[in-house]
């Protein structure tokens, strides 16, 4: 197989001049087997699982960045929807404690965000789902890296208006509690949520997934930023044509 200098230059210049990067690697982790009736033991298992897998993700990422000369910008973790694993521990205090455990595990491992603090409530709310929603304002304001989600409807089941009804006050309280309302930026509400989702802030590890799944998102934002900086001012139409030309030569944006 032969590569000419033009081909090598084209690829190298994507990373050197056009900000091509791996925008994110998101490691989905199953936490169902961490469930324990002893809450302290449960927290300990979750901490170990998330921090161990998180460190492993970082250790494996660095050599790949060097080997391919492509930076990996974000390292994230998505866990099993927390309302499922907290069914037997559903108090606001324990939800907050679990959020802090996840936050600490992510921080200690050097993980940027941990998603999955949410519930699949498209057809109705379990007690655990309702307590999770009640805990969210404090969870989202008291933690740095924990991201939350709620699925409140589907084409099949319609909208869960009980859940929707709780969201307004929950979001308002979250905004009031966190500086610049940043807590709300760490929450995603879905209708027709997929079985599994690697995209923050609404990432979670689906129940049909194996123990761990790695998702890789190629840069969209970095390439777009490079194009915007290069062309300066432009009409939306001319910007679109420049971006289309650029994207047709670059890998498709995935995140």
């Amino acid at each position: 197989m032969r590569f000419d200098v033009e081909e090598v230059f084209e690829t190298a210049s994507m990373t050197l001049y056009q900000n091509l990067d791996i925008r994110t690697t998101t490691l989905g982790i199953n936490l169902k087997d961490c469930i324990d009736s002893d809450f302290a033991a449960f927290q300990d298992k979750v901490y170990r699982r998330v921090s161990t897998f998180g460190r492993s993700l970082l250790e494996k990422s660095r050599p790949l960045e060097v080997k391919y000369g492509v930076p990996i910008v974000n390292k994230r973790i998505a866990v099993t929807p927390v309302s499922l694993i907290m069914e037997t521990h559903c108090t606001v205090e324990k939800y907050l404690a679990m959020a802090q455990t996840l936050d600490r595990a992510a921080l200690d491992a050097g993980i940027d965000f941990v998603g999955g603090f949410g519930a699949l409530a498209q057809k109705g709310l379990t007690r655990s789902d309702a307590v999770l929603i009640e805990a969210l304002p404090e969870v989202l304001s008291a933690t740095q890296r924990v991201c939350a989600f709620l699925n409140v409807g589907s084409t099949h089941a319609g909208l869960n208006l009980d859940a929707v009804n709780l969201l307004g006050p929950m979001l308002k309280e979250t905004a009031q509690r966190s500086p610049n309302a940043i807590g709300c930026a760490k929450f995603v509400v879905f209708v027709n949520a997929p079985e599994d989702n690697p995209f923050m802030a609404g990432a979670y590890h689906g129940v049909g997934e194996p123990d761990a799944t790695l998702n890789v998102g190629i840069s969209g934002p970095g390439v777009v930023r490079s194009v915007v900086e290069r062309i300066g001012s432009a009409t939306s139409l001319s910007f679109r044509s420049v971006l289309s030309a650029r994207c047709s030569r670059s890998p498709a944006p995935a995140n």
């Binding site: 081909e7 230059f9 210049s13």
Partner: protein, 96 residues
């Protein structure tokens, strides 16, 4: 440039202004680390001087992190952009 699947082949891409000593200094760094140069090409692309080296790291005495670091340092010293990338990325980008 021929790519041999049995070798540990990476491309070094040097972009910037043409000047004396680029090949000599990079070759020196590679020789010190027992890295063989398989091929060298150069040209002018979009106004840039571009040199590409295909290197085999099978018998290298330094790890990738070190090689990448010293190449970056040399690039900074000489006012050049230097990029080290495994051949697989070029296969993925340019071959079906």
């Amino acid at each position: 440039m021929n790519v041999d699947v049995d070798k540990e082949l990476l491309f070094i891409t040097v972009i910037g202004q043409d000047k004396k000593g680029i090949v000599a200094r990079i070759s020196g760094l590679l020789y010190e680390r027992n890295i063989n140069i398989e091929d060298i090409s150069q040209g002018v692309m979009q106004g840039y001087f571009v040199m590409t080296m295909l290197v085999d790291l099978r018998e290298a005495t330094a790890d990738l992190e070190n090689i990448s670091h010293v190449l970056q340092q040399l690039g900074d010293e000489m006012g050049l952009r230097v990029q080290l990338q495994h051949q697989n990325i070029f296969k993925a980008m340019h071959r079906i």
